[in-house]
Symmetry: C2
């Protein structure tokens, strides 16, 4: 069974999940969509995945049969298991915790051949609604503290199947990186009396790092981008929880996400990428995340590799000046529209 182990030197949690070692990678020399069609995420092969936990589907169609537009299933090779009881142990000198958690896959389209960016806007909106629904529903389980939704597209970004999908993982602990963001955001709020991200929005609107604005959303290349063409999308409305996104915001987000991903795809020749939805933890304590946190989405094109320097320092070396990356993206979008 999977378990969490805590590194005593830096307090980093690692999930040891032997089950995932047997995960099939449809990559390598033959990494092409054709080599894996029909795949386990394709319509008609619903029985190849664990039974679905949620779907948006045509009227009068049954779960685990054809007719779905977006489908959520437990990961076949889960890093965490919802059936595990939640236990913490002292393991001599060390600390560990049972591998309780939720690990799901959100299949974004029945079409094996389309990337998220190529889907019609209405379908991207459906995917975003499913993100919201899953976050909301898992929030009902008081043992879960955090829900991370992210997307790995392409082999270099860690994807193991080409059929368009996102990953959801919900954990009983607040992840280290989330805690770091929360800490800074709270400090800023306490010192300045306003939200750090709202200030970023104000700063970036007038600046040369702006990529695009849509009703209610802004896309920009951050000042200290780790990677070439790294792009963040922030809602204008201050809100800590993606689960509280409103219907018209879903529509704007779908538009700006499609615009940003299209520009990255075209300019960088269809690179692998990750995107990560940064949200506040579930509100389980007196901590008032709503005041000082601001959900957003970070897109990280996989153009550089982590090397010894990055592992050893936590610093990054970015060979593309953020202002130049933003200008190229902005220009591309303007020319297209």
């Amino acid at each position: 069974m999977p378990e969490f182990r805590k590194d005593p030197v830096v307090g980093r949690w690692v999930i040891v999940a032997e089950e995932r070692g047997t995960k099939p990678y449809q990559f390598g020399e033959g990494w092409e969509r054709e080599s894996s069609f029909p795949c386990v995420f394709c319509p008609g092969r619903e029985s190849c995945t664990p039974p679905e936990v949620f779907s948006i589907r045509e009227k009068d169609t049954l779960p685990n049969e054809r007719g779905w537009r977006v489908r959520v299933v437990p990961n076949r090779f889960p890093a965490l298991l919802p059936c595990e009881p939640l236990h913490q142990y002292i393991d001599g000198f060390y600390e560990r915790m049972s591998g309780f958690g939720v690990h799901e896959v959100i299949i974004e389209t029945p079409d094996h051949y389309l990337d998220l960016v190529d889907l019609p806007l209405e379908q991207i909106e459906e995917v975003l609604r499913v993100y919201r629904e899953r976050m909301r529903e898992l929030g009902e389980d008081p043992r879960l503290r955090y829900c991370l939704i992210s997307k790995n597209q392409g082999e270099k970004a860690g994807a193991s199947l080409p059929h368009a999908h996102s990953q959801l993982i919900a954990t009983p602990v607040i992840p280290k990186k989330v805690q770091e963001e929360l800490k800074r955001a709270r400090e800023f709020y306490e010192e300045e009396g306003r939200c750090l991200f709202c200030s970023l929005l104000e700063e970036e609107r007038k600046k040369e790092r702006l990529v695009w604005e849509e009703e209610g959303f802004m896309a920009f290349v951050p000042y200290a981008a780790r990677f070439p063409y790294e792009t963040w999308i922030l809602p204008q409305r201050h809100c800590a929880f993606f689960s509280e996104i409103e219907e018209e915001e879903i529509q704007s987000l779908a538009r700006i996400l499609k615009i940003a991903l299209s520009a990255i795809k075209a300019l960088l020749h269809d690179p692998a990428f990750n995107f990560i939805l940064h949200v506040a933890p579930y509100p389980r304590s007196s901590e008032n995340y709503a005041d000082y946190y601001h959900w957003h989405l970070e897109i990280l094109p996989s153009l550089c590799k982590m090397a010894g320097f990055e592992w050893g320092t936590g610093f990054y070396i970015n060979p593309v000046v953020p202002e130049k990356a933003a200008k190229a993206l902005r220009q591309f979008i303007k020319d297209k529209s």
Copy 2:
């Protein structure tokens, strides 16, 4: 010119170094040693690199000519420059710093066809002596706070040239990851009155994660290994600074490093890997690193990719149980010896 930029959300420094965008990658489909021989690191091509800053060479041979056994040159595509004056700026809402620092390459052998692990012990010792010398010498510059030596072997680990080499980067700030380690180590020392790493050595000696012991050194798979077959090498003698390593320790370290890397190479079919020398910062303040820090070397085989989950959480998913990885390495070494 390169510059440091600070991310306002998590306080992470990024080096924006446009010059590195033009770096030639000798990889891709033709990534084989032959495709790049003779390379810029080969004997006879000394003029293809910036002039050497240090070398170990045969008597009566001249700098920047043949006859060297280990050669240190400034990186041709530096992320940081020693000629930059050290300045910090407030950039409106943001913070940046001039790209002052040192970025060198340590060419480990004149032989284009040998990996570090394949070198004779005497040559590995020479490389380790060069690490020590460079760390010592750069410590004389009071503007430098930290010196990181690491090795990227293979394309997946971020290497851009196949000829065996290590990287040195010295920075005017103490890196984030180093600060995290120092913080925990100091807390542990204050609470327990002893060194965290000395305690780890005690714990791992008796445990099933031990890989190998040599006079004065121990190699083990850490309890919360991030990656399959991650291996740490620690000196038995408590010491914060690699620059204080003694002659007989150099010999032991060369042996255990060769043993560990040979086992990883054979068992995992010559994987790409990084290793990182974790040392205390240069002692510039009243902070007493010598008490609570303990230098060590971390070997990270590049068998998994960073995906959205790792980027978003800072957690890792390791599909190989550390005890099993250690057992396989230990068994392999025993069978060979």
